[in-house]
């Protein structure tokens, strides 16, 4: 998919998901959406039709990956609900992304966070309201060029490649990370603990913490959203190399997923790559 987030920047975006080599079902989902609320002038007698340009509305691009929690009933349903609900909620917010001043930007961020919380509630109820029925991670980015707004729950990840350096934009919300952060475990204890990868925050689960952030991108940067099926098997250096070398988003996705499968494919793997092609 190629979209134009602004006249000067072409965003080449693509996504790919694979069941992996060990699982029977793919519980991951992703979506790439172009959001625009615009008035298109078909014909006019006005001498300078550019006066209507401001009605075009700036395009926003939405990227989402969701990883239904393994071992729980309905993981695939949870991740599908996350993706479909967010698109539904955010379609309404499309008109509010143009010309964001500080107040409107905070309002926009609140709307995004609200959409995530509403989605959580929907999945929680679908799961029987017990917090153990179904759950999913969520990593999403809304790109209103040049700014990418990020909302994150769980242990899927967002990265961006900037001047050849890969930077992780999210932090895993897992027991291991939480215990190390709290000083209760060492990094080594976290690596060896069987419960380290358990989520401490998930959509549809008992606890929800929505991490919010943003980053301003530049032409040449690459945004990557992925589930842990990728990062379990493909080290950051390799991810950086693939993203830096690829000439299009689709081939980058294919190569990253192939790397995860070659590395063992122990889990479902999903990637979304967006190249700020300039």
């Amino acid at each position: 998919m190629t979209a134009t987030a602004e006249a000067s920047v072409r965003v080449d975006a693509s996504g790919l998901t694979d069941v992996g080599r060990k699982r029977k079902q793919n519980e991951d989902h992703f979506v790439i959406v172009s959001l625009r609320k615009a008035a298109e002038v078909r014909q006019t007698s006005v001498p300078d039709p550019h006066v209507f340009d401001r009605l075009q509305g700036q395009e926003a691009l939405l990227f989402v990956v969701a990883d239904g929690v393994g071992g729980r009933a309905g993981g695939a349903i949870a991740s599908e609900t996350a993706v479909t609900s967010l698109v539904e909620f955010l379609a309404d917010a499309a008109g509010s992304v143009h010309g964001l001043d500080t107040d409107r930007e905070h309002e926009f961020l609140e709307r995004l966070e609200h959409a995530v919380r509403e989605t959580h509630q929907r999945i929680f109820v679908q799961g029987g309201g017990r917090g153990q029925g179904m759950a999913t991670t969520l990593t999403m980015a809304v790109l209103v060029w040049p700014r990418a707004y990020l909302l994150h729950v769980g242990d899927s990840r967002a990265f961006y490649l900037h001047k050849g350096r890969l930077k992780q934009l999210t932090r895993d919300q897992t027991t291991g990370e939480f215990m190390v952060e709290a000083g209760a475990w060492t990094e080594e204890q976290a690596r060896n603990a069987p419960t380290a990868s358990a989520l401490v925050s998930a959509l549809g689960g008992d606890d929800l913490t929505v991490a919010v952030g943003l980053v301003d991108l530049q032409p040449g940067d690459v945004l990557l959203l992925c589930t842990d099926g990728l990062t379990r098997h493909v080290p950051d250096e390799r991810i950086a190399e693939v993203l830096g070398r690829a000439t299009d988003a689709e081939s980058a996705c294919r190569e990253l997923v192939a790397g995860a499968l070659d590395g063992g494919g122990s889990d479902n793997v999903t990637v979304v790559v967006a190249r700020m092609a300039g």
Binding site: T102, H106, L150, G183, L214, V215, D216
Partner: protein, 169 residues
């Protein structure tokens, strides 16, 4: 509810994220993870009977590779500078950071958190140095680890943002 955007500005490793963690989540971690881009947290507070929400923009610190991204600072209602009292160079860079911040955000209230006050044996500033900083900034000594000064520094910046509104109205 009144919302005020407060940008946290400083050199890498001065404890910006730790101050936010302490203030918003009552947590402290010894582990250092550098911030990428901006992390955003909200904290409702009450200052002098007025309710407001501080929207805290925790900016990636300036390091050898990259400067502060000026576009993040636009529209700020206040700037909270953070320096590390055990690393003199983090104070030496404050004038440059202030010029950058003022260039992007204009003349908005500023407070300086002189952080890591619990590390007394490693403190790198003489009394005269701190007096100099106090003349240039509204300074609060803070420790994200012990909690010293943390409530105070955010309360002070909240009060300053309200004072601006009152002065303008």
């Amino acid at each position: 509810m009144i919302q005020k955007k407060v940008c946290m500005v400083g050199v890498f490793g001065t404890g910006k994220t730790s101050l936010v963690q302490r203030f918003v989540h009552s947590m402290f971690s010894e582990r250092y993870l550098s911030t990428v881009g901006v992390k955003i947290d909200r904290k409702p507070i009450q200052v002098d009977g007025a309710d407001l929400t501080l929207v805290l923009w925790d900016l990636a610190g300036r390091d050898g590779h990259e400067d502060i991204t000026a576009s993040y600072l636009r529209g700020s209602h206040a700037i909270l500078y953070v320096a590390d009292g055990t690393r003199r160079e983090t104070c030496d860079q404050l004038p440059e950071l202030r010029a950058l911040a003022r260039g992007a955000a204009g003349e908005v209230p500023e407070v300086l958190a002189l952080n890591k006050s619990d590390l007394k044996e490693r403190w790198a500033l003489a009394a005269a140095d701190e007096q100099g900083l106090s003349r240039a900034f509204d300074l609060v000594r803070t420790s994200a680890k012990s909690g010293e000064g943390v409530e105070e520094v955010f309360r002070r910046i909240g009060r300053a943002t309200l004072a601006i509104k009152e002065a303008r109205s």
